[in-house]
Each structure stands twice: as structure tokens, then as C-alpha cells.
């Protein structure tokens, strides 16, 4: 069983794909499915450029075997369409070269979904998982906070 035919659900679509046991999710998503939004950086779990969402949580796709993702809901940056966090990155100039951006956005997107009321400490803890070599992080923090604030405002007066 060095290779397996598995069903990967990515961005809501099912893909039947034959993978080696040793293939990472990152490798399959990019090389076999052509979804090149998740970026290879360190390939060692350190930089976060490869971050995708698995069942709603951020996951460094270089740290996950493709076979482990069978039966789970995977979302890559291609699966997000004009979400508030994407717009906020643009409005806040939260990137320069853009290489780290898909990973940051996927992590921020999960944070907003899991903790819409995240405090500063939680935001910092989550964002420390990604490295950006261009910006000073301030713009990224601003982008996340602008979305969290908007979310809190929308939710507040519900009866």
C-alpha cells in the first residue's frame, strides 16, 4: 500500500486521486490538482506559506500527508471568494511580494471563523504561525482586526 486512491474534498469539490503514502497534501494540491495558491516555503512547518484549512482549522499542508486528508473538508485560498479578510488585506496594504499572503489569509480566515471575538493575545498567538519577510506585520494585524471589529459590530444587536 505504497499508493492509495483517495477522495479529496477541496473547496467543496471531490477529486479522486492516486497518491503515494509519502506525498504531502501540499505537493498533491499544487502538483496534481493545479491549486498553486498554497505556497511551498520551508517545507518544515515553520513559515506557514503552505497554510490551508482542514475542517475549519488552519493546517500547514507541508506537515500533512495527502492520505490523512481523505474524508476531510480542505479549503485552499482558491476556495475563498471576496471574503472580508481578503478585502481587508487589500484595503490595509497587508502584503508586498505576496508570497506569504495566501497562508496568512487562510490562517486569519480560520481565526475569524473560530474566534470572532478574538482578543489581542489570541490574534498574536495565531498569527505567530506565519512568517512574512516583507511587511512589518502591523498592516496584517490591522487587516485582521478590521474584520473582527466589523463582525462584532454586526453580531451585537441581534434579538
Amino acid at each position: 500500500m505504497k499508493s492509495h486512491t483517495i477522495t479529496l474534498t477541496i473547496n467543496g469539490e471531490s477529486h479522486i486521486v492516486t497518491v503515494r503514502s509519502a506525498d504531502t497534501l501540499l505537493y498533491i494540491v499544487r502538483g496534481r490538482l493545479g491549486l498553486t495558491g498554497a505556497k511551498p516555503g520551508c517545507l518544515n512547518g515553520d513559515c506557514g506559506a503552505c497554510t490551508v484549512n482542514v475542517d475549519g482549522w488552519p493546517m500547514k499542508s507541508c506537515l500533512m500527508l495527502a492520505v490523512e486528508a481523505a474524508g476531510k473538508e480542505v479549503t485552499t485560498i482558491e476556495g475563498l471568494k471576496e471574503t472580508p479578510i481578503q478585502m481587508a488585506f487589500v484595503e490595509n496594504f497587508a502584503f508586498q511580494c505576496g508570497y506569504c499572503t495566501p497562508g496568512f489569509i487562510m490562517n486569519c480566515h480560520s481565526l475569524i471563523e473560530q474566534h470572532p471575538d478574538a482578543d489581542d493575545q489570541t490574534i498574536k498567538e495565531w498569527l505567530e504561525s506565519n512568517i512574512c519577510r516583507c511587511t512589518g506585520y502591523i498592516e496584517i494585524e490591522k487587516a485582521v482586526k478590521s474584520v473582527l471589529k466589523r463582525g462584532a459590530h454586526l453580531k451585537a444587536p441581534m434579538e
Binding site: 506557514g48 482549522w57 488552519p58 500547514k60 500527508l65 504561525s129
Partner: protein, 279 residues
């Protein structure tokens, strides 16, 4: 992507996992139990780990439990550190585990994986050493419960075909006053220099340390010195430093002298937090 191929198995029962291991071992496949798998994936990529057969234990029910049973909290070995943090059933563990790697990586790193890892830094083991937890181990003879302080000496002493299923920790130790702190020398996500976890039980302070030696430890001698209330804080800490296990790490993250300097101050902080000493 790993540069070598391996077979991948997903057993559903403890017995199936142990039987598979024994069978694959006989076939010369150098089998490996796998839960989060981050160590195999990162070390395998640079040829520092190798296997021809991976046995993924994430599907085994006993390895996934997270509940209180009678006087004990049971935590399965395949729970991710993030899951444990979010549930926050063991506050000292929540605090100490949150010092492992980074938040996203902790969504992949599992409790059992961190306890059994090869790297020096294995912070998640510290709370269990302090709380005298029991470990449930599966192996060819079935399942047995062993006190962690009997089976963990620098590393978890498991025989071939054995693996960690659960930890069981007494509620009174889970509720004990605690203190946990990590010092890094470099930036905030750099490797930890030293992590100290402590708790207080029956008027005695217990301490466990990661990042000082090439292994995490709890030492009775260190605790006896720190708890010698007839002496000044400085003397208690000096005597504790004199009976530390060896060797002290001396690497790019921090020299041995620097680590000892940091530890000295952390011990004072522990006594201030848990023993009410004035500093």
C-alpha cells in the same frame, strides 16, 4: 514530500495496531507508529528518519478520548495540542502545551507525538511528570497502566510494538496551583530556551524543566533543595542548581552558562509564585 516510500495503515483497534507492528517488524519494514506525524515528515525529508511502514493510530477510539472518568482526567494520545488547549480541561497543560511550536503546527502535533518525540523540547510531558500521571500503554501483552515517573527517564521507555494510548491524571493535581513559563532567547517564535512548569501539592513545590538538558526532566533532588524552607531563597536555588541532571545544553540557542542563569531566575519566580517567598 518524503524521498522514500512507505506503506500506510490505519488500524481501528489497539490489538490490530500491535499485531500489525509485529507483523511488519518481522517483514523487516522498520514500522513506525504515527499520530501527528510531524517528526517523520520533517526529519524524513532530510533523511534523519526512515520507515517502510507507517501505522497511523488516529482512528483508534481509545486514543481519542478526552473526558473525566471518576477521579481522573483521561487524555488520548492522538489529541492535537490545539484541541487540548481549546478544551482547557487541564490548565497547566494548556499553558505549557501552548509553548510548543506555533498555533497552526499545534493543530497537527499530538499529545503522544510530543511526549514521544526525539527533539529536546517536549514541553507537553512536563505537566504529566508533575502530576504523577498514569500512562496507558498498548503492547503485545495487552494494555497496562504505568506511572509516568517510572517509565519516563529522558524519554518514554517503550518496548518494540508498544505505544502510548492515554494519560490519566488525578483531578486534585489538575486543580493544584501551578506556574508555567517559557523563556526564548531569540524572537517570539524561536525555539524555546527553557520552559519551567511547576505545581504545588501538599505544601511542596514540584518543578519540571524542558530545554536545559537534552531531555525534559523532573528531579526529586532539585525539588528537595527548593523546598528546604529553613534556608534563604538564594541558597535554596543555588542548591537546586548544584544537583541538576547533566549535561546542560550548550548550543546556538544558548550557552550552558546562559541557560543556568535563566534557570536560576525562573526558579526564583517559581518560589515567588507558589511558595509566597519575597524576592
Amino acid at each position: 514530500m518524503l524521498p522514500f516510500d512507505f506503506d500506510y495503515y490505519q488500524p481501528e483497534t489497539l490489538k490490530e495496531a500491535v499485531d500489525l507492528y509485529q507483523y511488519l517488524e518481522q517483514q523487516g519494514k522498520q514500522p513506525m507508529f504515527f499520530s501527528g506525524g510531524t517528526e517523520l515528515i520533517t526529519l524524513g525529508r532530510i533523511d534523519l528518519a526512515y520507515t517502510e511502514a507507517v501505522i497511523d493510530i488516529k482512528g483508534i477510539a481509545e486514543c481519542k478520548v478526552m473526558r473525566v472518568s471518576g477521579n481522573h482526567l483521561l487524555l488520548g494520545s492522538v489529541l492535537t495540542l490545539t484541541k487540548i488547549e481549546e478544551a482547557n480541561l487541564f490548565p497547566l497543560l494548556t499553558k505549557t502545551a501552548s509553548q510548543v511550536a506555533d498555533h497552526t503546527a499545534r493543530g497537527k502535533i499530538t499529545l503522544g507525538g510530543n511526549i514521544c518525540a526525539r527533539i529536546f523540547y517536549r514541553e507537553a510531558v512536563l505537566p504529566f511528570l508533575l502530576a504523577d500521571s498514569q500512562l496507558l500503554i498498548a503492547g503485545p501483552e495487552g494494555v497496562k497502566g504505568v506511572p509516568i515517573n517510572k517509565i519516563f527517564a529522558g524519554e518514554l521507555k517503550l518496548d518494540k510494538a508498544e505505544f502510548l494510548v492515554q494519560t490519566a491524571t488525578e483531578n486534585r493535581l489538575i486543580r493544584a496551583p501551578y506556574f508555567s513559563i517559557k523563556r526564548r532567547q531569540q524572537w517570539e517564535t524561536g525555539y524555546p530556551l527553557i520552559t519551567v512548569a511547576a505545581l504545588k501539592m501538599d505544601e511542596e513545590v514540584r518543578v519540571a524543566v524542558s530545554g536545559l538538558c537534552p531531555f525534559p526532566f523532573r528531579s526529586k533532588e532539585v525539588e528537595a533543595s527548593l523546598n528546604n524552607k529553613g534556608l534563604s531563597v538564594e541558597t535554596r536555588v543555588e542548591r537546586a542548581l548544584a544537583v541538576l541532571p547533566q549535561p546542560i545544553l550548550d548550543d546556538v540557542e544558548g550557552s550552558a552558562d546562559y541557560r543556568l542563569f535563566v534557570l536560576k531566575n525562573l526558579f526564583v519566580d517559581v518560589l515567588a509564585a507558589l511558595d509566597g517567598v519575597r524576592v
